[in-house]
Symmetry: C2
Subunit: 206 residues, 2 copies
């Protein structure tokens, strides 16, 4: 019984590579490729793959997390295995929450990918060893949720804007910006704009 797989990655080269790797074994069969999340969703609803191998970053359109969520809403829902280069906490957790069966880093050996696909098809959770510790840590100390406004301020902060500039940009007073900052700092457990930005970038919060 072969496992049918749909490949989703915006890089043609990576798709070719995955296809080459997967075509080399009998147990999996690649039944489709797509370059975007949107395309993947429509294609998956037609070809009904057992497993979708999906990049986390998909260029222009929707990202891997949104794609995962949409794929998991299909019936029958494919197992979604996220493939990515980087290991940002927030994104990992986001994909798991969206229903992904697990995660693989792109720099793993071909065998690990095959193995991951089999485990995902069997309904197991697949986590790259390098990531497991991080995921667990992320579970233990989840980043406090920032409000929309706070994230907005944080983003501006990350561009190096001063409070005055942020205030002008958001059409509020500097006092309001400072107020948001106090809340952001408290939630993130830091005491300066620089550290807030560093932490936010480090954890994939922005």
């Amino acid at each position: 019984m072969t496992i049918t797989v749909l490949l989703v990655d915006d890089h043609p080269v990576v798709r070719s590579g995955l296809r080459a790797v997967l075509d080399a074994v009998d147990i999996v069969q690649v039944i489709g490729e797509s370059a975007t999340g949107e395309e993947a969703i429509t294609l998956a609803s037609q070809v009904l793959p057992d497993v979708v191998l999906c990049d986390l970053r998909l260029g222009e359109g929707i990202d891997g997390i949104q794609t995962t969520a949409a794929l998991r809403a299909l019936n029958p829902a494919p197992a979604v295995l996220i493939l990515t280069t980087f290991d940002r906490d927030a994104e990992i957790l986001g994909a798991i929450e969206a229903g992904a069966a697990g995660y693989l880093l792109k720099d793993v050996a071909p065998e690990a990918i095959i193995d991951g696909i089999q485990r995902a098809a069997a309904g197991d959770t697949v986590l790259a060893p390098e990531l497991t510790a991080r995921v667990i840590k992320g579970m233990r100390s989840p980043l406090p949720k920032l409000t929309d406004r706070e994230v907005e301020v944080l983003r501006l902060l990350a561009t190096g804007s001063t409070n005055k500039e942020i205030a002008r940009f958001l059409f509020v007073t500097e006092a309001t910006v400072k107020s948001h900052l106090v809340h952001i700092f408290r939630k993130l457990g830091v005491d300066s704009r620089s550290r807030a930005v560093h932490l936010a970038q480090d954890t994939g919060l922005i």
Copy 2:
């Protein structure tokens, strides 16, 4: 007359993909693969490829720029074509300075890669259209060179450290740190630590 190519990328999947893409045409022949820069240099000196297709980021060891420089020092020197996912100014310029024949983004079509290899083998310069404007801009307004010490301070700055912390870490007084910062700000044309960090990250300076 076929063009011999050596692939350098730390991701097995990408190497497989490139190989699949290149094996599909007669004009190029892949005569080797390596996962690290060090390996690529020794391998290239043995198999003497016409073109080396090299990722900019190579995991643990030396990066694509250092690899390029070493490869160009060989005799006969292969043309080095840099393949990368991201488009950071400083790195692009660094690779060009190190003697790379040009740049390709990983999300291009297979044909563009084939084409790039042929042009590189012919001695042409190959720049992904998306990057040309950036490279020219980088040429026009080159980032002023920071001293080693200044880069060191900038890196600490990027972690969100205060002047006091940086001073402690570098075993100097806060006055010295401030002095370095003034120089950094002047060279980068900014007026705050946050903006300096943002610019540095944006341009790939750190």
